[in-house]
Structure formats: structure tokens, C-alpha cells
């Protein structure tokens, strides 16, 4: 088991390098000159652009730039932003904690509420409450997140006054509640549906009948035998969802003024800030990798038949 984890962690290194190389090449291939764009409509003489590019190492061939980036990364240097001259590490340090908090909230909301709803409906498949759940989740899946965001802002902030419409620069826990609910609602619908189907199916499984025949208490049958087995597809989904929640929250972050990872990477993309994009995307890749490792390890916890050596 220990060896398995070590191997998986080692495997991350080539994936990490491959991902950075890929994103780096893509940023390089994009048309446009970020240094020239700094000056806006104003004219800048070529000497100055050349001087800036030389300072930033942008005049080197692609392989050399990538080599410089990679060696810098090994020394803990994520590079420098072209426009502001700020270290990319600072930008990441500003944005990641905020996104981590938002993701944590959204993830907790998705997991707790989604699984509860799934169990509640799945235990009595095709009943009235099951149909209500299917309706509600269908609605959540089909309504785009910005509609939910603006609706939430309108009702909870402007009509009821329960929360502030926007997240301030400090991004306090209580301010992140509404954005987290909006961000998590799509995943919530999927989790609820996955749980519900899985539970409804496993209720009819042989081992359930055996457990009931053994005379086990109902709480144990459902809490241990049924739930543990039903959680495997849900855990798979949740694992990949962490990465999606972190990197893909551009719309929600925009609506609620959350200055997180999605917003930073979107801004950097527009300005063609290569180092910033590569740095943030790489970190998201790491999050994905770690999450998928956790999911694989959780399989073994949930289903004793799965073993790793």
C-alpha cells in the first residue's frame, strides 16, 4: 500500500512536466504580443519592446524559455508577470487561498446535501419524493450558473438582506456562503442523482438480502452495507469535481467579485501572461492528480475487495 502511494506520487512528475510543457507551448503559439499590448493604443518604439523582451527572456527560442521556466520552477520561482513585474508566486498566493475556501465550502455543500438528498430519494425509488428530487435536480442541471448567481443575489442580498451581494477583498467565510452554494449546485444535482440511482439499485442486491436475512439491525444494513457500496460512483465523481470547482469557477467568481484562481487565469489569458497561466494551470493539474489518487485510495476503503500492492 505504501509502495503504491509512493509510485503514484512519483508518476505525477512526468504528468506534471508534460502538462507544463503543453500549456507553455499553447501560450507560445497564441497570436499577439503581450509586451506590445501593454502600451494600449499608444505607440511604443521597437527599441523599448526589444529591451523589455530581453529583460523578461521572451526573445529566446521556445525550448530555451521552457528550460528557464522549468529550472526556475525547481528553485521555487514561478516566473514574473509581464505587465506588473510581480512574481507569479505572489499572484498564486493571493488567489489560491480564496479559491480553496470557496471550493471547500462548495464541496462540503455538494457532498453533505447531495448525498443526503440522494439517500432520501433512493430509499423509496419512484415515490413522490423521488420524483420531486428528479425534478429539482433537472432544474439545477439545466439552469446556467450565472442565472442562479444573479437570482441568488437578487433574493438573498437585495430582497431579504441576509447576505452581502459581493465578496470583499478579504473573502471572509460568511461572504463565501452564497457563491459556494451557487457554485456547488450543479455538482449537487449530479451527486444527488448518482447517489439515488446507486442506492436504488443496490437495495435489490444479493448482499442486502443476506444482511437482512442475518438479522442485522436496519441502521447497520443501510449505514454500512448499502452506503459503502453505493458511494463508489459518487466518490469518483466528487474526486474529479474538486479540480473543476477550482479552475472552472470563472463565471461564479465574476458574478460575486471573488478574486480567485478562475478570475486570475482568465485575466492572464486575455493579456497573454504566459507564466501566470502556466503556473496556475499547473497547480490545478496537481490538484486533479492528488484528487484522483485520493479517489483510488478511497475505493479500497469503501470496497475491501479492491486492493493495492
Amino acid at each position: 500500500m505504501g509502495r503504491y502511494v509512493a509510485r503514484r506520487l512519483l508518476q505525477m512528475i512526468p504528468v506534471f512536466i508534460g502538462a507544463t510543457l503543453l500549456v507553455f507551448c499553447m501560450m507560445y503559439a497564441l497570436p499577439g504580443d503581450p509586451v506590445r499590448a501593454l502600451a494600449g493604443e499608444q505607440a511604443v518604439d521597437p527599441a523599448q519592446i526589444a529591451a523589455m523582451k530581453k529583460d523578461l527572456g521572451l526573445d529566446l527560442p521556445l525550448w530555451h524559455q521552457y528550460w528557464n521556466y522549468l529550472t526556475g520552477l525547481l528553485h521555487g520561482d514561478f516566473g514574473t508577470q509581464i505587465a506588473s513585474g510581480q512574481p507569479v508566486a505572489d499572484i498564486i498566493a493571493d488567489a489560491f487561498p480564496i479559491t480553496a475556501r470557496l471550493t471547500f465550502f462548495a464541496f462540503a455543500f455538494t457532498t453533505v446535501v447531495g448525498i443526503s438528498m440522494g439517500i432520501f430519494a433512493g430509499m423509496k425509488a419512484d415515490s413522490a419524493r423521488d420524483r420531486v428530487l428528479l425534478m429539482v435536480t433537472l432544474l439545477l442541471i439545466s439552469v446556467p450558473s450565472f442565472v442562479l448567481g444573479f437570482l441568488g443575489q437578487y433574493f438573498f442580498a437585495f430582497q431579504l438582506g441576509w447576505v452581502q451581494p459581493n465578496v470583499s477583498g478579504e473573502a471572509n467565510w460568511n461572504e463565501l456562503f452564497l457563491p459556494a452554494v451557487v457554485l456547488g449546485s450543479l455538482s449537487l444535482a449530479y451527486v444527488a442523482r448518482l447517489t439515488r440511482t446507486s442506492i436504488a439499485e443496490n437495495l435489490r442486491a444479493d448482499y442486502m438480502r443476506t444482511a437482512t436475512a442475518k438479522g442485522l439491525p436496519r441502521r447497520r444494513i443501510i449505514g454500512v452495507h448499502l452506503l459503502r457500496n453505493s458511494m463508489i460512483p459518487v466518490v469518483t465523481y466528487l474526486g474529479t469535481d474538486i479540480g473543476a470547482l477550482m479552475g472552472g469557477a470563472v463565471v461564479t467568481e465574476g458574478i460575486f467579485n471573488v478574486k480567485g484562481v478562475g478570475w486570475s487565469v482568465f485575466g492572464a489569458l486575455k493579456q497573454r501572461e504566459g507564466a501566470t497561466v502556466v503556473g496556475i494551470v499547473t497547480l490545478i493539474v496537481v490538484v486533479y492528480l492528488v484528487a484522483s489518487l485520493l479517489v483510488d485510495l478511497l475505493y479500497a476503503v469503501l470496497d475491501p475487495r479492491i486492493r493495492y500492492a
Binding site: L9, D94, F158, L283, V287
Partner: protein
């Protein structure tokens, strides 16, 4: 137990992951003060892209801060746009080339250092030097010796501008490389601000917390989130701040800022989103301003393409200009935040500054019949199809380009005569212009550097001028501009510039579309809110109740 071991390993992996991503965070916020002279204005902000050096800031977000913490030799009157003496006691010249500047006594930086002639000369030398990569370096191009410190290629051969000489604690002389009668009026721009020694000696510390000589001082600056400015009680100038300070808060976009304004968490949004303009009047109960800014939008043409550089093509361009229904587009798409252009300058100059409404005359009036006739007389659109290139990532350009094309198509009676040609990013758009890849008209916006008619004409239409992207050239225009610059009398200089503008009109060098307005909405906590000609709020005059 099997499960427990698995769980242990899972926990270990989580620990590794957490250590790798490094969770942290938290921070403390400052509350806003009370009302009256101590009240703090909470204003929307976008983080400036570039470091906050005066000669390196060319956009409005950084400009806001510089306007609060710096005062230069001149200051543009927030209402009239006229350049008035601030730190300058007098600026004398006899020949429009040699200037003697005297700095007023009694001015200091907020760290106590005296503002002297050297503070200016050092700052200008820093701004002009190629080594410092300052974006506004071209502001110093008229000073003698600029080509030595900022050559077009290669390394600088001098470190200081030979045209600048300190002659006393409060006096210095400037020698220009050409006659430029209105040059002193350019000195209100932030690039000409004086700089304290701290800027040069502890540069990184200065950038983290800039020190200047304006009515405000920077109290704290958290990049990406907020800058707190407080009133400098010992400010020696006449335009002291009437509030306690300004908190500039960073927003992801102006929509979220507007939301916070309506929710009462913000006092001032200086760029009301177009989508909210319809609601703004009701939401804000009249606390909304919409005033002309020194920005004009035009369609420029690629004169390096021979097809556009013929006398016939001038007719086509005039015809195209007359085919655009400016009034309808500004009213429906821009909700009157743009004003149809009738010349090539801006109303903020005022009539005395060279703005002349209707200078364009018939050539800018919507007249489909005449337009169609002119275009066919000129031999039709070169290449048979008009492609208007624009960048799609900012400023909702797609909507108005489509509307302009629609207007042209209806006039000509051909649905496919004009199409928009979007370029994904601004960076790539500038790239294509710079490489002369475009074969049709392209979007050109011009935001003035200083409120002078010279700034609306010379950089854009003079032969090989810095922002003459279409490479238009006309000897008559160049001659008139030279004459205007040499003229020591401002009035005749301006009328010379207007004659040059008429050359632009007759050739329709660029089609003027509309003047852009600056807009702002504010809360009932503040009053006396105004925008200066650069669309920057005049913070020191805002009263907090």
C-alpha cells in the same frame, strides 16, 4: 484492520496535498470612518497592470492614484480642462524652443523632502531613459537629447537629456529639439510629475507604497484587493481634500462594482456598465453623471495598401462616413454615452482649445443617397468588400461594428458589402496593425494625453508619427502642423491646427465616429462628484456626509 490502513494512507496523501498547495489566507479589513471631513470615500478600482511609476502609467486606473498623490508644474482644471499653474511659478520662453521654469516655494513631498528643480529634472531623465522601460517615455521626445537616451535601436549613448539643466534650487531650463509653442500646457500630465529621492534610492519600497506631493498619501496597498489613501493634512497646495481619504477597492468587473454600489457597500463607481445604464437612473435616484471625456473613436485606414491611397479612395471614404447613421447607433447601442462626432478632436477642449463642432460638416452627416453616389463615383469599395477589424475581448466593439456595417450595407443596398472582422485579443489586434497586415479599415480609439488640439492631430496624422497606424501622409497637413507648433501665439496656433484638421477632413484620413463620455454613479453618502476631462473622478472635491 484493512480499512483502517487504507484510511491512514488516504490521510497521508491528503496531508501531502495540503502541504503542496499551501493553504493559508485571512486578513484584516479596515472599517470606513464616519462622515464630514473625516469621511472616507469608497471607490471602485481595477488593479493597474503596470507598476505605479508616473512615467509608466498610461491607463485610467493607475491614473486615479497618480492624480491623488502627485501635483506637477501644471494641473488641468477639472471643469474646463485648461492647463493652470500648480507647482510652476512661471514658465518663460522667447522662441518656443528654450524654456525657463521656476518652481514655487514651499512645496514638499509627504515624506518631508523639498520639491526642487532637481526633483523634476531627475524624474524626467528617469522617464526618458530607455533602460527604465517607461511606457510614457515618448512624452519627453520633444526635449533635446531624447534620441541619445532613447534611441530607436541599440543602447542609449547618454544617461540624461542634454536639453535639461538645473540652474538653481528652484529653476531649470529646457531646450526642445523643435519649436513647440504649447509645450508648457503638456506639463499637467502625470509623466511630468516630480519624484522624491526615495523613488530612486529605495525603488522597491517606493513601489509598494508610493510617496508623492499630492493632497493624499498612500496608507496601505494590498495588490489585487485595495489601496487606502488618506488626506495629507500638511498638503501645501490650494486644492486640499475635503474628505478624510479614499479607499480604492478592486472589483472583478464594473458589474460587480455596480452591484455593490446599489447594495450600499460602495460610494462611487466611475464606469457604469452599459447593461445597467437603463436602470441607473432609477437605482441611483439621479446620482449619475455622464460627461464628455477626451476620447474619440474613429475608423482608420491602411494607407500602405495602394488601393486605399488614391484620390478616388478619398471619395469612397467620405461616402462611407456619410453612410453611417451615428445618431441612431449612439442612442440605441450606447444609450447616449457616446456623442456623434463632428470633428476629429473632443468637446473637452472647448471652443477656445480648438474643438469646433461641425468642422466635418456634410461629410459626417448621415445622407444615404449622397453616400451611395460618392462611393460609386470613387469606383466602389476597394476589393469589393469592406472588412472592419476590431478586437473582440474588450469594450463590446462587436455591437457597434455590426451596426456600422449594417448602416453601410443598407445604404449601398448590398447585404455583404461590409462585415466585421474580429481579432480575439487586443494583443493580437495591435500585432496585426503593427505588422501592416490589415487590408481594410480598423477600429482606432484615441484617448488624449493632454487637452490640446495638437494631441488629437499630430500623433495620429503627421507623417510617420508615433500612433499614425495607417501611415497616412499629406505634406499640406505636415506643413500646417509645423507652422502651428512654431507659432508663439496660442490663438493663431490653434487656428492653424484647425486648418490642418480640414486637410484631414478633405482626405477623410480617418472616419470620425463618436466622442466617448465618462460615466459615474455614486451613493447618497457622497456629493460634489465630478469627472475631469480624463474621466478620472475629482476625488479631493468629493464631500462625505
Amino acid at each position: 484492520m484493512r480499512g483502517a490502513t487504507h484510511a491512514k494512507w488516504a490521510a497521508c496523501a491528503v496531508a501531502v496535498a495540503l502541504a503542496a498547495t499551501g493553504c493559508g489566507g485571512g486578513g484584516s479589513g479596515g472599517g470606513s470612518g464616519g462622515g464630514g471631513a473625516d469621511g472616507v470615500v469608497r471607490s471602485s478600482w481595477g488593479d493597474p497592470q503596470n507598476p505605479l511609476e508616473p512615467a509608466n502609467t498610461n491607463e485610467v486606473q493607475g491614473g486615479k492614484v497618480l492624480d491623488m498623490i502627485f501635483r506637477g508644474l501644471k494641473r488641468y482644471n477639472p471643469k474646463t480642462g485648461k492647463a493652470e499653474d500648480a507647482l510652476a511659478e512661471k514658465i518663460d520662453t522667447k522662441d518656443s524652443t528654450h524654456f525657463t521654469v521656476t518652481v514655487k516655494q514651499g512645496w514638499t513631498f509627504s515624506d518631508g523632502e523639498k520639491v526642487t528643480a532637481k526633483s523634476f529634472v531627475d524624474a524626467w531623465n528617469y522617464g526618458a531613459n530607455l533602460k527604465n522601460n517607461q511606457k510614457n517615455a515618448y512624452f519627453f521626445q520633444y526635449i533635446d537629447g531624447y534620441d541619445k537616451v532613447h534611441p530607436d535601436s541599440g543602447q542609449p549613448t547618454a544617461q540624461t537629456l542634454s536639453g535639461l539643466r538645473v540652474t538653481g534650487p528652484r529653476t531649470f531650463t529646457v531646450k526642445l529639439s523643435q519649436r513647440f509653442s504649447t509645450w508648457p500646457d503638456t506639463l499637467g500630465y502625470a509623466a511630468f510629475a516630480p519624484l522624491p529621492r526615495a523613488f530612486f534610492d529605495q525603488h522597491a519600497a517606493w513601489l509598494a507604497k508610493p510617496v508623492g506631493n499630492g493632497p493624499y498619501t498612500v496608507r496601505s496597498y494590498a495588490k489585487g484587493s485595495q489601496m487606502s489613501l488618506r488626506t495629507w493634512k500638511a498638503y501645501p497646495g490650494p486644492d486640499k481634500a475635503v474628505n478624510g481619504g479614499v479607499d480604492l477597492k478592486v472589483y472583478t468587473d464594473n458589474n460587480t462594482a455596480y452591484t455593490d454600489l446599489v447594495a450600499g457597500n460602495l460610494d462611487l463607481v466611475d464606469d457604469v456598465p452599459a447593461a445597467q445604464l437603463k436602470n441607473a437612473k432609477a437605482d441611483l435616484n439621479g446620482r449619475y453623471i455622464n460627461t464628455p471625456a477626451g476620447i474619440i473613436q474613429t475608423l482608420a485606414f491602411p494607407y500602405y495598401d495602394k488601393a486605399w491611397n488614391t484620390p478616388q479612395a478619398a471619395k469612397v471614404r467620405t461616402g462611407l462616413s456619410m453612410a453611417i447613421n451615428r445618431k441612431q447607433i449612439t442612442e440605441t447601442i450606447f444609450q447616449k454615452t457616446r456623442t456623434p462626432a463632428t470633428d476629429w478632436t473632443s468637446p473637452v477642449l472647448g471652443a477656445s482649445g480648438g474643438y469646433r463642432a461641425g468642422l466635418c460638416g456634410k461629410a459626417c452627416a448621415y445622407d444615404p443617397a449622397a453616400a451611395k453616389k460618392l462611393i460609386s463615383e470613387g469606383g466602389g469599395i476597394p476589393g469589393g468588400r469592406l472588412k472592419i477589424t476590431y478586437n473582440a475581448d474588450t469594450g463590446s466593439h462587436k455591437e457597434w461594428v455590426d451596426a456600422v456595417c449594417n448602416s453601410i450595407n443598407n445604404t449601398i443596398g448590398n447585404d455583404k458589402a461590409c462585415v466585421g472582422s474580429p481579432v480575439g485579443t487586443f494583443a493580437d489586434f495591435r500585432n496585426q496593425i503593427g505588422q501592416k497586415k490589415l487590408t481594410g479599415p480598423f477600429r482606432a480609439g484615441w484617448q488624449m494625453d493632454y487637452p490640446l488640439i495638437q494631441n488629437f492631430l499630430q500623433p495620429l496624422y503627421y507623417t510617420n508619427a508615433s500612433s499614425n497606424d495607417g501611415k497616412w501622409s499629406d505634406p499640406r497637413f505636415d506643413k500646417l502642423v509645423d507652422e502651428a507648433n512654431a507659432d508663439t501665439d496660442t490663438k493663431t496656433a490653434i487656428s492653424k491646427f484647425q486648418q490642418a484638421e480640414e486637410v484631414v477632413r478633405d482626405q477623410m484620413a480617418a472616419i470620425p465616429l463618436w466622442y466617448q463620455n465618462g460615466s459615474a454613479g455614486y451613493s447618497d453618502r457622497v456629493s460634489h462628484v465630478e469627472l475631469n476631462p480624463f474621466s478620472v473622478p475629482v476625488y479631493n472635491e468629493i464631500k462625505v456626509s
